[in-house]
Amino acid sequence: QQQVKQSPQSLIVQKGGISIINCAYENTAFDYFPWYQQFPGKGPALLIAIRPDVSEKKEGRFTISFNKSAKQFSLHIMDSQPGDSATYFCAVRSGSARQLTFGSGTQLTVLP
């Protein structure tokens, strides 16, 4: 049972363009929606996160848009840079230990 569906699997964007990655979830009990960024050979690192009582959160070039009724959230990277090339994972949180369930990941390549 896949609780989080992430798309696209891979994305190629020109430098300066906008990168958009989408996630859809099934369980309304999730209470926190982070995005993690992973560079090759490294562990994931928290990029940005949103709570379900907010529809949008922006940090620098990164924005999360959250649609509670549609059970979807997305990551927008404005003015994409080659240094943004990485794998991005959405996640949803639940449980007393704040366990995360991750999407399958999106490999982003930003061309110079």
Binding site: Q6, G41, K42, L46, A49, R93, S96, G105
Partner: protein
């Protein structure tokens, strides 16, 4: 702070062998987690712990065991290794209380395990 450290970085096992993946954190985090990452599959939770002496199963616990005797350490034991356990294993930790309104899991660099 070293953060979350994992050893070894790489390991090749033969089918049926056993090994322990080590994980340690120096941030005094109560919550610790083990994930495995398979290509194109994201990260899946194997086991987690909310404090010393307390562990629980995640989504994919079969073939693994954990222990948590101290706050700092959370080793993952593989018994009777199988090719299906070939993966990259990540350990993570988080503070019991949210820090600055953000709930962050801090990940180690991973252990790449191959079972032949």
């Amino acid at each position: 702070n070293a953060g979350v450290t994992q050893t070894p970085k790489f390991r090749i096992l033969k089918i049926g062998q056993s090994m322990t993946l080590q994980c340690a954190q120096d941030m005094n985090h109560n919550y610790m987690y083990w994930y495995r990452q398979d290509p194109g599959m994201g990260l899946k939770l194997i086991y987690y712990s909310v404090g010393a002496g307390i562990t629980d199963k995640g989504e994919v616990p079969n073939g693994y065991n954990v222990s948590r005797s101290t706050t700092e350490d959370f080793p993952l034991r593989l018994e009777l290794a199988a090719p299906s356990q070939t993966s990259v294993y990540f350990c993570a930790s988080s503070h019991e209380r949210w820090q600055g309104g953000t709930d962050t899991q801090y990940f180690g660099p991973g252990t790449r395990l191959t079972v032949l």
